[in-house]
Point group: D3
Chain length 213, copies 6
């Protein structure tokens, strides 16, 4: 299957769903990333872009696509973003799309989520992921990431300029992410999980004899 | 996989999720039904029980279990229902459970949903289905039932004493169910669908080469 | 009474509330339509405009007003839309206003709903209608459209270029609309209904001896 | 039309919807009250019953029906209440039903609202009213009670043993009710209003020439 | 402590939280106001500015800051507003921030609330206040304003050009505000209160021996 | 101040709010615990009671009160629980009350939360806490528990028979609690926090010169 993950800034996708992406990459699915900005407000754009590419290598994605927008300035470009995301969808025909949750204290995350809701209106599987700025998130869909938790951590560490930038003293993004995985794991009844709120999701019950997959 | 569908009265499961059950039954999964009452307030218990058994045959279920409760009287038996459902779960170890949505104008549906939420607290996949009395239902999970719509209709027709009992003149339960399947299909972007709200669901992305399943 | 229906594109009003409009038009109320764009992204503007006018004739509206905006580009014009809708309200003094629901996967529908919420802040009766892209819609207000269902269908057929454009193979917009009317009818306890979520609504209990109206 | 108002204790209906009842009583509609308990926990049952009857006279109701339950003890009688309310509905065939909102800090109000939701499952117009213990109430339906505000106050004063029992020093129930009417009036854009959340409501747009009614 | 109150137009802060501000001003806390526009659509900018300054004197604020935006035109300036509010926060380091609720029929209030949610993402105490155009507001946090109700009224009267502009005949803004204070007082179990919905709030239980403060 | 924490089973209060209790106990506030059952379904009642008492010693509470109910059987005793909690409130006059969140997969937690909502209807500060079975919890109120996290852990370890009973292999309750504290800390912008949803809360802004408390 083809999976498209969309994030506003470098490392957003990693925080939200890289355990899931790594899991399905390992099973042979096609991963594609769309990063809308270089995250210029949180560091040098050129550095952050490099970090994103380095991190992404662990997923062996088919492609990392850059949206070319400017950090913090997504809101005024709602219509353009809808078109751009539609163009990416047209090009790669994803079966699954992951994006920021609609309610978030970061204006870029909100705007990108809204644009994606519009651009994906005829896509069958679209899921919202979470991050430290997400609000009012009551996830109902879970992915067990026990096997890929360490890959997720490695990906986050590749964003070297960001690891300590959590705005909470003494707390690295890797601490945030580990605690979140345990917290969501509890809700999903597994040790470590990523959690999602579906915009729209089709159940796929595995055929008999394939449950182990 | 093992699938357990739970309903308060004969034909509730058919209305809510029989297209999905038929689909997975055809693929070789194990289906089990738990019907809490004989629906004595909507007809003769003995008749309705017979109809339920006849309808169920189309699913070739492993078992149809009767809860033994009395129609309209589930509310005062919350604790007993939790125990009874836990016992069924213990016996058949279901991977997926389907039950009424929590908000409903029928007191039995509400009580059974609540009891199931408690009894399934350590089950990984639990989904709420809808019916004509469901309230405030914003489903996010869909199953394409194009292939099994006619089986669903046949199952409903097997409940001969109930087909015309919709409380809306001139409208048979089969009309209700067809319209609902189209309505939910639109939301899921397929011609006919059953729709669910997850209490908790694990994504299963099919392994490469098996997408067609 | 004066009724104003507002839609983003040609045929949106028909999908959402034309059964209701036709019903009240037949009883002698004044109907006015405000269509914000010509729907240029879904066909030729000139064609769609013509279709809208042809469809509207069945309502014998006092007026069809065109907003003059461009399809898919409503979002950046929130303030202008508020002013424009206020101007229309000032001109026709509507007693009832119908508009898209606020949550929708189409960005134009969302933006127009928000603009209308602002522009109608001192109007007593404002109701949100639904369409195939509406999200999280839990309607509580219903209109029985048994007598005008066929008019609604005829109006939709007047939008000839759009009838098959549902993005679901084999499903015409008339199928969507019929199923929705049955689905909402069930919730309202009548055979066919249109359903609304009120922003604000005043009850009008008919005086004794006029119940049949 | 026939209007049935349901309350858990004497004076609950007055607080919630007596302005509306008085308005429609004046227009010649039939009013019926169903009071589930005598309010024995807030005073002597015999006194409170007398007060309720005295207050009700101002509505000239067709009937005041007593549920016969004990104050604070409605919760365990969900099923019996559903049957009892169904019996009342069967007897008087109401067109409109008013009852407590579902979310409330008082256990009797919650239980009665739930029982009414079940018992009214095939009634076309059911509305939830509010009181000082209501929670999470976002009303969308309003009734202008300018003409009957003073009747509402008089009815509340008839509950002499309760007027000062607001649990807030120096605040009479009439103060509570006046402030609420202004507060909801603002939301409905009229000087004084009662506000409701619909479970289910049919719009009745008055026929031309009758708007003044 | 330092308290920052943010409003879109002159008198918005007064309506929403001036009782609270006056209370804490009296206890010696630092108050700062940020008013985004001069309210040019509701009167002459120069007049309204003067009124705001006169009203504010009753709080003896450290500063009244003007945002310099134009009335009704906040929506298109989301990003600029986020930056501007961040700059104010950087300058005055507030411990508490008060702002409009996110859901409101006025487009400026919505936009300003959203911008503030973004700008305050690392502030510990942020609360949403209400006004006559607020929607879907279920406050859970209360401040007893018995001691400062009259100051609140005086502040509102200082906005002389606005007192009668409530869009409801015969109702002054002071009537609106008094009724709201009683209505919210009831919910908080005190005679007069202002009510808030927290975005984020830290409990401060007063140390023993200081409860009377 | 007097703080009452209410839990259905031994260790529920510890999971939900013991960091907060320990913090305020250290500052000299009075703590009182009300534990409704001995948790007989999760171990021997006599053992669990002993563990609860041992754990509680770390808070030096004024009193640990036992409700005397049977584990899993709270639902049918709604009315009795309301009376019992009211009696406790009458006896100790708490300023703050903490209890389970209303939405939870455990039937006892739901029932106890509902009973507490009723029993505390005239208490000014009531907050819902969370645990591993809580659902749909979007907390807005936080307490920084950096100083008391280790006390919280010690208290949980005192419930020796329960530490490994999380239903998730390899995960101790202390892991759950630590991850939750980090997860909620992120949302509150501190390293470790307990999070609450207020039923009703009064802000207490500390007087100038006491901010450090």
């Amino acid at each position: 299957m083809k999976i498209l993950a969309i994030g506003a800034h470098p490392d957003d996708i990693e925080v939200g769903c890289s355990g899931t992406l790594a899991k399905y990459a390992q099973e042979g699915h096609d991963i594609c990333l769309l990063v809308m900005t270089e995250g210029q407000m949180g560091g040098k754009g050129v550095t952050r872009k490099k970090e994103q590419i380095q991190s992404s290598r662990l997923l062996k994605p088919r492609e990392v696509i850059w949206g070319g927008y400017h950090d913090t300035l997504l809101t005024p470009h709602m219509n353009q973003m809808v078109s751009d995301i539609e163009a990416v969808i047209h090009k790669i025909s994803p079966d699954f799309i992951f994006v920021h949750h609609e309610d978030d204290t970061h204006q870029d995350h909100r705007a990108l989520a809204k644009a994606t809701v519009s651009a994906t209106r005829y896509i069958r599987n679209v899921l919202f992921y979470e991050g430290p700025t997400t609000r009012n998130f009551s996830p109902t869909v879970f992915v067990d990431i026990q096997q890929t938790m360490e890959t997720k951590i490695k990906m986050l560490l590749a964003h070297r300029s960001q690891v300590q930038k959590t705005n909470i003293e003494g707390l690295a993004i890797t601490d945030v992410v580990r605690s979140t995985a345990v917290f969501r794991g509890i809700q999903g009844r597994v040790p470590l999980a990523e959690a999602f709120a579906p915009l729209r999701l089709f159940i796929n019950i595995l055929p008999t004899g394939r449950e182990g997959l």
